[in-house]
Amino acid sequence: MSGIIVVTNNFVRDIKDNQGGSLLKWIDYQAPESVADAVKILADSDGKARPLAGGTDLIVQLRVKDPRVNAETVVDIKKIPELNQMDYDKSGGLTIGAAVPLHLIYNNPDVIKHFPAIIDSASLIGGTPIQGRATLGGNLCNGAPSGDSIPNLVAHKVIATVAGPNGIREIPVEDVCTGPRQTSIDSNELLVSLYFPNPGEGFGANYIRFIPRNEMDIAVAGAGVSVNISNGKFVDARVCLASVAPKPILVEGASKALVGQPVNDESIQNAAEAAREAASPISDMRGTAEYRKHLCEVLTRRALNTAIERAGGN
């Protein structure tokens, strides 16, 4: 663009231009105490209201004036009882409200006993003070390709419960993210809770990511996996990758490479290679596309080995 005369009165051309400490844009604030009230506020706002749970993504987006977050009202959902529940039911499933902060999740005895792999994600999103606020629900609804909990939720076959003007609907979590920071949850809908079904026998899961620092970083690549093992064979398996495509991707090829196969290095390596092939990353300041594909293979293999160990197999 050299030589061209440019008149500028908008110095902000992408969100990076505001990254690093700008002030929040003007907003209105509401704190409804029921799902119905929250949905009404969202529905009446013409797409210009956003739910606020931990705010660790939303408040940053309001600071950088992210055009994708066209919010005039934030709807604080932390006063709604259903969104704060943590309920382990008789069927062996676990419901986690969309506004439950991470630290309550990884300190919850049912989580520790029955779904320990959720802690992999819950304890590495942000640092300790971020985990005092951030939620699994928010991480999912933010829909970042790098969201550290999403592959883990997918690996756990989580079902999202969403309330809207037309009532409640349930969405398999792998169908929530549709593109970079885009989800199938409508602007007039509210994520109420996440349901972790009983994972069945011989289950193990794991989420790991690669970051240059040891904490406080955005995943260069991440892998969330789960396995069900019976008699030395994979009876079910899921591999979901973060940060290597426009949205977290469930790698069908990895499941195929594992299910029905014996638990051994060869089947694991086949799944890892399937993950590598499924990844379609971009090159950016976090790493080159080639490096990220390579990491998908490494992380998938490592995560599978941990999941298998947790499953008590091998």
């Binding site: 663009m1 009165n9 240059p212 300041m285 490096y291």
Partner: protein, 760 residues
């Protein structure tokens, strides 16, 4: 490792006959800082305070055709808008900024761009409004017409034939001589010792390599800030975080063309600096806004502004050639160094030249330095500026040489080590220095003698910083109970007021707690240069020493008049004044102090000094690391820093400087960098993406303080703030080589680049 089988923090002491020097008292400002009471720049408040924001360039290089501020001025809550046109037209002159000199015109141009913007983030206009939100909103109402120009981002691009020129009137200076050639190269210099062509002929082994580093930031946690109040009587008062309140004052006097005495700068507590808070950025803008509004105006940068609109340390290209005989005697060395100055001349390449070969006694050496302007923020000092870049090259080349010779890398260094009397390639002859002692202490350290862990790599390197002297002032008033109040003008970034107070306490024979030190404003103390160049404890400490001697002398004189004896017959030791001839005559400083008012009035000691005898400091590192073979990620497993501190005044603070400098070096090595877009915009302007080390990225940093007293200071003090950032980059690079057999010549060593190296 929480327990160790060795002492992680050792002081190898040479002299211990001091009472206060060498102890570890709690710092005088400590309680305020652990209770949240200390007032930093951003904490300052005043009645009627307005908040300022600065409009910054979105282009790396562009002509400013016009600026229309009318819409912004019309916004409710906006009180004033200023641009470069609001500066008085002052005669162009060169400004002394303590360690740094710069042209007034350049300084003015950097604070608010006049005709051209030269980097993304270059300030264009300032706005004062009732609150920061309104000010931020008003920024988007300013209309600027730009003609975008092609930009240059690296020394290679800037030095290429036909490169876009940043300053049409800049010609290359050759040590006082104007070459007349219009160029982005602001300065070229050479140091020559002996004859390198002859030296390389004598070499049995030669290593030659090129090394590159990229822009990194000091990363202080408190962004730049300043509050200005231009009073109706024409006096300007500034409150800000700065490493040099007198630099702020004198720069403002020149920029605003007003008498120095009309400006008062009150330095607040300072949230880190590392060199980056020597220059001024927001203070003049706040001053202009206050002049227009008649009310105090505060400007606090955001983190993004701190990255883009303050002064980082340069990217650089370093070419090293070094040769040695079979026996390991270095016969010749050549360093070619080009450093990015940023938008205006003044990179630290000159300092790099004084450091690159400093640890070694070379018969034949050549240093070429190039100061090159590029379309990035004007660089500022960062802890031993230039020296880490240079060491990243030369200290790697030495290890490569050692390997070719089959020698231990420390032995090779010791064989060529500089000692007292060694003439440096840049000319001066060393007085007593501690390079040899540091290397010997490294060779004998438990870390170096230990077995490496399976699969890990070990590296060593040493680094140098010459330190500076410069002006300092100090006043000491004796109170009626024998305590003293000490005032000085060196802003305290890391505990210096205590290490200065300790020197006065030592002279007066009182405890460090009985000295109450204050860092005061520019109206209250004599000229004191910046807190930088590792000078503060040395030079302002010297002023405190002299001021305390003045108090001591006056105490003796006063006691003599009380006792009616000849003052020459009296002495003062350990806080007791006594007669050399009459053992009956004895009085403590406390007893004397109680009588001052009745015997002629108070006692105030004072001193203004500009000491020489500055002792340079050497620091060495031993580092063990492991590399994840599948991801290329480096984990630092063990790190030892060994530094010649002269006499360590307050050993905890010396250790703290060593540990802090080491970790900044580790960050520089591993992950820190300005990721620049093709348009010259920094892509990682948050602390999430500018990955400085967290607590979880590091091991304990073990230290050895090697005390080689500086003969140029009464207590043997050397400045110790900087040399410690120099060796980490080459030491880690050498450890990476030891681990994987690949020479990494580009910083930072991100995991992706290490993995590439592992594959090759």
């Amino acid at each position: 490792m929480t327990t160790t089988d060795y002492d992680p923090n050792v002081v190898l002491s040479t002299e211990n006959d001091f009472k206060v020097v060498g102890t570890r008292p709690v710092r005088h400002d400590g309680v305020d800082k652990v209770t949240g009471r200390a007032i930093y720049g951003a904490d300052y408040d005043a009645s009627g305070l307005l908040h300022g924001k600065i409009l910054r360039s979105p282009h790396a290089h562009a002509k400013i055709i016009s600026i229309d501020t009318s819409k912004a001025e019309a916004l409710d809550g906006v009180h004033a808008v200023v641009t470069a046109a609001d500066f008085p037209e002052a005669a162009d002159k060169i400004m002394e900024l303590g360690e740094d000199e710069t042209k007034l015109r350049d300084l003015r141009g950097n604070i608010l761009a006049r005709d051209k913007v030269l980097y993304v983030g270059h300030a264009i206009a300032g706005i004062a409004a009732t609150n920061a939100h309104v000010a931020e909103e008003a920024l988007s109402l300013i209309e600027v017409e730009f003609e975008v120009l092609p930009s240059v981002m690296t020394t290679d691009e800037a030095m290429a034939d036909g490169a876009p020129i940043l300053h049409e009137d800049q010609t290359t200076e050759e040590l006082g001589d104007d070459s007349g050639v219009v160029s982005n190269v602001a300065k070229h210099f050479q140091h020559i010792k002996g004859d390198i062509a002859e030296g390389f002929k004598q070499a049995d082994v030669i290593v030659e390599r090129e090394y590159n580093t990229v822009t990194v930031h000091q990363g202080y946690i408190a962004p730049h800030n300043g509050t200005a109040f231009w009073s109706a009587d024409g006096r300007l008062h500034i409150w800000c975080e700065t490493q040099g309140s007198f630099v702020v004052r004198d720069s403002l006097a020149d920029l605003l063309d007003m008498p120095v005495s009309m400006i008062r700068v009150t330095p607040t507590e300072i949230g880190g600096g590392f060199g980056g808070k020597i220059p001024i950025y927001v203070e003049p803008v706040a001053a202009l806004l206050s002049k227009k509004t008649g009310t105090p105006v505060k400007i606090v940068m955001t983190r993004k502004e701190t990255f883009e609109g303050s002064g980082p340390t340069p990217g650089s290209k370093i070419k090293i050639k070094v040769g040695a005989t079979k026996e390991g005697k270095i016969t010749a060395a050549h360093a070619w160094m080009a450093m990015e100055a940023g938008a205006y001349a003044g990179s630290p390449v000159g300092a790099a030249a004084q450091c690159v070969f400093a640890a070694y006694d070379l018969e034949n050496g050549l240093i070429d330095g190039f100061d090159v302007v590029v379309n990035k923020p004007k660089t500022a000092a960062y802890r031993a500026p230039g020296s880490p870049n240079a060491a990243f090259g030369f200290e790697q080349a030495l290890n490569e040489l050692a390997e070719k010779l089959g020698m231990d890398p420390i032995d090779l260094r010791l064989k060529n080590v500089a000692t007292e009397g060694t003439r440096r390639v840049d000319g001066p002859v060393f007085q007593r220095i501690g390079a040899k002692e540091v290397l010997e202490s490294m060779r004998e350290h438990a870390h170096y003698l230990s077995e490496k862990q399976e699969g890990s790599g070990r590296g060593v390197a040493i680094g140098f910083w010459f330190n500076i002297g410069f002006d300092s002032a100090c006043n000491i008033a004796l109170n009626k109970d024998g305590t003293v109040n000490l005032t000085e003008g060196s802003t305290d970034v890391g505990g210096s007021r205590t290490s200065i107070a300790m020197q006065a306490a030592e002279v007066l024979g009182i405890s460090a707690e009985d000295v109450r030190p204050s860092v005061v404003d520019t109206d209250t103390i004599g000229f004191t240069a910046v807190t930088g160049g590792s000078r503060t404890t040395f030079a302002t400490g010297w002023a405190a020493y002299e001021a305390a001697q003045d108090v001591k002398k006056q105490c003796i004189t006063r006691a003599a008049s009380i006792w009616d004896v000849d003052p020459d017959h009296l002495q003062m030791e350990d806080g007791i004044i006594s007669s050399k001839t009459d053992s009956e005559l004895k009085m403590t400083i406390k007893e004397l102090a109680a009588q001052l008012s009745d015997t002629g009035g108070g006692i105030t000691g004072r001193a203004s000094v500009k000491p020489r005898g500055v002792g340079g400091s050497f620091c060495g590192n031993i580092v063990d690391l492991s590399i994840d073979q599948e991801t290329g990620k480096i984990t630092i497993d063990r790190f030892t820093a060994i530094q010649d501190a002269g006499k360590a005044l307050h050993p905890s603070y010396v250790e703290g400087q060593m540990q802090g400098g080491s970790v900044q070096g580790i960050g520089w090595e591993l992950n820190e960098e300005y990721f620049m877009s093709d348009e010259g915009k920094m892509n990682n302007t948050s602390l999430l993406d500018y990955r400085m080390p967290t607590a979880l990225d590091l091991p304990m940093i073990d230290t050895v303080i090697v005390e080689v007293a500086n003969p140029g200071h009464p207590f043997g003090v050397r400045g110790i703030g900087e040399a410690n950032i120099v060796p980490p980059t080459p030491a880690i690079a050498n450890a990476v080589y030891d681990s994987c057999g690949s020479r990494i010549t580009q910083l930072p060593m991100s995991p992706g680049s290490i993995l590439e190296a592992l594959k090759s």
